[in-house]
């Protein structure tokens, strides 16, 4: 594999980690959605590039699914939901953004320290892809725990899925079944989420999950 192809793949994967960090500090609903669309776009470019350099045409399908569903359809739908519900206010975070970013940096360092030594038998591309993918997954988890808002958590979850797609395409020759089903399950997940958002607002006029937490299950 020539140096340029490697560098570009590296750039895209690194870019995804960067956009994950951008997701962490968004404090407006719409800018969060836009950043997520960018996240999905970077994933799809990265996957398309992998398809090119691995000469694995089926990965183009994965790239297309990521682009159409996650970079376009889901942000548009969520946008509409947010407008219709009138909840485009600031997003409350549990921890301060500065602290969250610091923790995020620690997580990226952790994933590089964990992944690089144990994948020494693999090619450079696979190693770095996996380290970045794990970073994206951990950052997504961090985002889910640091957001109170249901939409924020859903976007955190979808960014985890993006990280998984990056990992799956990085693992050379992984059969198509997984990629398509990942994309497919995201679609199902959206349906679930759509129903949930709809029902949640129907009941509480808010998608702030703290409203859900009022009831702790055991109290009368």
């Amino acid at each position: 594999m020539d140096r340029f192809a490697l560098d570009l793949a590296h750039l895209f994967a690194g870019g995804l980690v960067l956009v994950s960090f951008m997701l962490l500090y968004q404090d407006r609903m719409f800018s969060l959605l836009n950043t997520f669309a960018l996240h999905a776009f970077v994933v799809s470019v990265s996957v398309a590039w992998q398809a090119h350099i691995q000469s694995a045409p089926h990965l183009y399908i994965t790239a297309a699914i990521a682009l159409i569903v996650k970079a376009i359809v889901i942000p548009v739908v969520l946008h509409r939901i947010i407008v219709r519900l009138g909840i485009h206010r600031d997003i409350e975070t549990v921890v301060g953004i500065g602290k969250t970013m610091l923790v995020g940096i620690g997580l990226v360092a952790l994933s590089i320290l964990v992944m690089l030594p144990i994948t020494s038998a693999e090619g450079t591309l696979v190693r770095e892809d996996l380290a970045f993918a794990l970073s994206v997954i951990l950052l997504g988890l961090l985002m889910m725990v640091s957001r109170r808002n249901a939409v924020g958590q859903v976007i955190g979850f979808m960014s985890i899925e993006n990280g998984l797609i990056l990992a799956a395409t990085g693992a050379k020759g992984m059969p198509l079944v997984v990629e398509i089903s990942v994309a497919f399950s995201i679609l199902i997940a959206l349906i679930v989420i759509g129903i949930f958002l709809f029902r949640i607002t129907e009941r509480f006029d808010s998608v702030d999950i703290y409203a859900l937490d009022r009831f702790r299950g055991e109290r009368p």
Binding site: Q153, L164, P175, V192, R199, F215, E218
Partner: protein, 482 residues
């Protein structure tokens, strides 16, 4: 597809799908409940046929000695639960908790769940298995939220978020396993086929396998409900319809544990990899002790038995973590006994909650007087689940304890302590529920008792006498599990 085995496997997967589609569109309630039963019955018959004909293992699906027991158990409890569901749902319709549209949705989802669980058990491809577990998670999320109350929504949301994160971690683990195998086996479907993985696992890179197993344990462990990853489980059990609680406890937790077992076999086939046993033993012990103490402070009857499920999943993980032919044998037996008993308990609890109009234990009392059959059914179920002789769970717990005493007495003491604490909690609660003054609202029971007593009868029979062919079968599987 002229191979009869392949036809049978195909039928096990196709029947639930066809039933799901039919049930989604048929309007009449009586027919749909019966059709639901018919669908699960046909699936059960096909599953039993697997004992006689078996297809060649393919790259996607496999029937081997390990999973055939689980498939039969899965379809059997699926069938009995659909019978129970028929009478349970009729009551929910009368009281207006469910409307007709939701009922159609419920039945379609029930069949989809059966499909997903059967697929997860049959899958040879680790990616396919993951997809199936994810599908099962999504369908149960929808069913937990079906009553659309405050509590149900919170439970479903919690389950959805925690379940999805767990499943995402499991996928990362699966990718790492593929990475470890593809360098040895070569790229392509073979490197994801579980049967090939086990054979060639000795050559995999141990470091990658270790990391993969940590992710798989956390991921699938969330679905198994092992403490401290259990937070979704009590809510999901308490707020959904009771047939779903029965299927969740009895089957879905097993399916997730089964996925873990498959990967454990890959791990143990590699000499250089971390031994998976100690991890499973410690998670299991934590679950047992934690859940036993939590049992004391429950107010909600379904929530209490959900904690009891966490406890028993802990026992099973502990047994498989200890490993060795005897502990594996006991673990397998306990898995089956727990499935049957816990679903039987939920059958009786479901009807009790309906006749009493509440799930709060303070408002339920004197069941043996007001509803003798339900009350004694519950007593029998609780006696079974706490592990008193002569029931089957006594035998499996006894085997687990004695085999552990021989090897690691300290662990056995901790486990025994947890079991006793749980026994105390459940019997103490049972006393209030079943005996004493009748209080709380009371409606006549129109219940189907057959599923409940069938399950308990089977557990009793297993406790008194296990037929020799069954024992040798279990021993064989226990050897395979290592």
């Amino acid at each position: 597809m002229s191979d009869p085995g392949a036809l049978v496997v195909g039928a096990i997967l196709v029947i639930p799908v066809v039933s799901a589609v039919l049930l989604a569109f048929l309007p009449d309630d009586r027919t749909t409940a019966r059709l639901n039963v018919l669908g699960t019955l046909l699936t059960l018959l096909c599953a039993i046929a697997l004992f006689f004909v078996r297809p060649e293992p393919g790259l996607f699906l496999i029937v081997d000695d390990v999973n055939v027991v689980f498939i039969v158990l899965n379809t059997f409890v699926g069938f009995t639960t659909s019978v129970f569901s028929g009478s349970y749902i009729a009551h929910e319709l009368e009281t207006g908790r469910l409307t007709h549209v939701y009922l159609r949705f419920y039945h379609a989802m029930y069949q989809t769940l059966m499909f997903a669980m059967n697929l997860a058990l049959l899958a040879n491809n680790v990616g396919l298995m993951w997809v199936a577990v994810e599908l099962a998670t999504l369908t149960t999320v929808l069913m937990v939220g079906i009553y659309r109350t405050h509590e149900a929504l919170e439970a479903a949301w919690k389950y959805f978020i925690l379940g999805s994160v767990g499943i995402a971690l499991a996928l990362f683990g699966t990718i790492l396993v593929y990475l470890a195998s593809s360098t040895v086996i070569g790229e392509g479907l073979e490197a994801m086929a579980w049967s090939v993985l086990v054979q060639r696992a000795w050559a995999f890179d141990p470091a990658l396998l270790n990391l993969a197993f940590v992710f798989l344990l956390l991921g699938y462990g969330t679905k198994v409900g092992l403490a401290p990853l259990h937070a979704w489980l009590p809510d999901a059990h308490a707020e959904g319809p009771t047939p779903i609680s029965a299927v969740l406890s009895g089957l879905l937790l097993n399916v997730a544990l089964f996925a873990l077992l498959r990967f454990k076999m890959v791990m143990s086939a590699n000499a250089g990899a971390l031994a998976p046993g100690p991890l499973m033993v410690s998670l299991g012990l934590v679950s047992v002790v934690f859940a036993s103490f939590m049992l004391y402070r429950r107010d909600d009857i379904k929530r209490m038995f959900a904690y009891s499920s966490i406890e028993h999943m802990g026992i099973i993980s502990f047994a498989f973590g200890m490993g060795g032919p005897l502990a594996n044998f006991a673990g397998l037996l306990h898995m089956i006994m727990h499935s049957l008993t816990k679903s039987a308990i939920f059958f009786s609890v479901g009807h009790i909650a309906q006749v009493k109009g509440t799930q709060k234990m303070d408002d339920i009392g004197g069941l043996t007087v007001s509803h003798p059959v339900l009350g004694w059914g519950l007593i029998l179920g609780v006696i079974t689940i706490v592990g008193l002789p002569p029931m089957g769970i006594f035998m499996s717990e006894f085997l687990i304890l004695t085999s552990t005493f021989a090897r690691h007495p300290v662990l056995a003491v901790v486990l025994g302590f947890g079991l006793l604490i749980a026994l105390g909690a459940l019997l103490y609660r049972l006393n209030g529920l079943a005996f004493g003054e009748v209080h709380g609202a009371s409606a006549p029971a129109r219940a189907s008792y057959v599923p409940m007593f069938t399950h308990l009868g089977l557990v009793l029979a297993a406790g008194i006498f296990l037929p020799a062919p069954l024992v040798s079968w279990f021993q064989h599987v226990a050897e395979l599990l290592r």
